[in-house]
Subunit: 438 residues, 2 copies
Amino acid sequence: MVPHLTTALTGPLLALEANFLDATPDIERWLRGMWQEHTPPFYGSVDLRNSGFKLAPVDMNLFPGGFNNLNSAFLPLCVQAAMTAIDKICPSAKSLLLIPENHTRNLFYLQNVAQLVAILRLTGLNVRIGSLLPEIVKPTPIELPNGTTLLLEPLVRSQYRLGLEGFDPCVILLNNDLSAGIPAVLQSLEEQFVLPPLHAGWAVRRKSTHFAAYDEVAGEFAQLVGIDPWQINPYFAVCSSVNFYERQGEECLSSSVDAVLGLIRKKYKEYGIEETPYVVVKADAGTYGMGIMTVKDASEITGLNRKQRNKMSVIKEGVNVSQVIIQEGVHTHERVGKEDQEGVAEPVVYMIDRYVVGGFYRVHSGREKDENLNAPGMRFEPQAFETSCSLPDQCQNPDAPPNRFYAYGVVARLAQLAASLELERTTPAAVEDMAVSL
Amino acid sequence: MVPHLTTALTGPLLALEANFLDATPDIERWLRGMWQEHTPPFYGSVDLRNSGFKLAPVDMNLFPGGFNNLNSAFLPLCVQAAMTAIDKICPSAKSLLLIPENHTRNLFYLQNVAQLVAILRLTGLNVRIGSLLPEIVKPTPIELPNGTTLLLEPLVRSQYRLGLEGFDPCVILLNNDLSAGIPAVLQSLEEQFVLPPLHAGWAVRRKSTHFAAYDEVAGEFAQLVGIDPWQINPYFAVCSSVNFYERQGEECLSSSVDAVLGLIRKKYKEYGIEETPYVVVKADAGTYGMGIMTVKDASEITGLNRKQRNKMSVIKEGVNVSQVIIQEGVHTHERVGKEDQEGVAEPVVYMIDRYVVGGFYRVHSGREKDENLNAPGMRFEPQAFETSCSLPDQCQNPDAPPNRFYAYGVVARLAQLAASLELERTTPAAVEDMAVSL
């Protein structure tokens, strides 16, 4: 199924896509060079928004949880990319311990885990699943809707190594974003590869650090292909020492909202765009669509009611919000689905190592084009990307699906590259201490 | 479209495939280890035959010419694999010179070239095409059926480098099998990567050297998964100093045919197989389906008429046959296509580097299951492999298409591994001299 693209997409994005198509060899070569210097994260997923005049990442996840949503035609790509990644990291690897999120009842998530296990097994690894849940005290089978079973096992920690009863893996793959902090059982594992590194978890990671790195990547890339970096890069600002509940930091928030809206207005004027500018205020360490609100005017910040303030105060795992990112909102002009299933859609692109391995649309029938779609009621369109993101077709129009998807794959890889820089820069030993203190 | 599999395939091959499925992690890990020690050829294609009781390679091509026959869904796999291959060989590569076969009128072949160019461009390389044809004295556009144009350019040779006017590539990729010998223009290129190496061409290469290496690979693999190596490996013998035209070497040929038929009969008896054993006699350096005949009894060798002897004497580029391989014939029990398009089929598996990137069926409606299908009247079923060869599905029966195709991918990779060994062993400087003397 090909997404229904509104007429807005016949505007400047065509120019952007045509530009990417013309520059394909340059883009690929530039990326190849970048990957010589920077190690890509083991995997990642990027939420993109496509406004017709702008195609930009709005979030980057280093623990992707939707492998089950990928079109099954893309699975060989996942296997091939995972083979390359494993070869590079630990070619002699025999066994891998996967540590998932603590969702034993979320069958969608568990299908993602099952899919990941399948991909990794096909690279030649013995894969077993270790649970961080204290109640998993013995091997616990969980039935999946397709009739298969996932076996969660209790972790066994020795002084320097982590494994399971009778299973001493050489690689530990996290599919747990560590929002609740870095568990003691994962600390000081000096003999095993931990992928991605612990500081990729939300206990340490900050969206603002990612987007600061993305700023640099987007700037260099824009110069390469001759575009305004704004076309692929949302403005943002950060406020620390925010406490929504106690109304601390409101001045910083409202002045930042004002500043970012001002920057957007200037760009809209420059390009003759008639949409209403908006910003998205998000917890800087937030995920799962929690701690997010859309703001069109700074006055909305001071006018928040108690319910709204409560909602913004706490994110996943009950962590308090203290730092906030104010990000330029990117309208999404894409709509996917038929009849009552039709809704606003944003592409989510999946990567393993430096390769785009698939994607899907996050669709929400109850939301508008300037709203967060990562909210209850969203659904996924696994079939939507019927062509892959690595294959532009020069014979087709720039807005033909393979070409639009190639553009998605390029921007997603820029975000993956930004994640590499981000992880390099947050690597120091100091990170261990930060984590312990959380 | 899924191939129509005859009932013979419910026999022992099920056991073989079930065996491969059970051993998937071991197989993949073993292959991973092998690729640490041996460099895979840049690309390759393997002709397989599937008799129900045996699944074996019967030929291995190091200059695959059917990329246009791959299902387009597999193209991202090609791009990803080519990226990895290029990264490994020459990460800083900017430009690649592709040297195709001298077929300017074979539009099927030229579409293969166009597809290869497209794949390589997507890895970030500037790709241009240099022709070995003396009549290409200036850039010559050739129109393809899909409306695109292929530009063939004359080669420009300096003392140590090969390129085009204004184009100094760092990699030279051969899609020409060098049947006519190694052209002077390709010799002594010490500064550029030539892929695959010159000794991979039929000027130097011998099928018997490949199958000797395959013997070793198949033996080790069979031990790994606990099967009789014969299930994946055809018997063979070699006769040198053969001249069909002058009836030289007939004694060697008929005694070898007898010997190989005897070995096959013994195995058929062991496994209770009731098919008629046969061997395929082929030029040891032959390709394009030339210089091939099927023999069921040694007496057929001495009874060849003049026309048959003429046909066996000369192969591609008018080269005389002097060495011959006598290979166990593997009946193909696969049939593909509908109604009058229906015919005997053999799978052809495509690889780039160590990755399976697609495949198709070679189908011939006018041939029997014990005949060579690489003959006029053959056609290709690009859509036939609707699932890829890297993705077995443990939830399905061993003979479900993904699993059957996984088995194809495994055996094809064994042949690719054998080609690595073969190329290593034929590498010495002596090869240059051999080539020059041709």
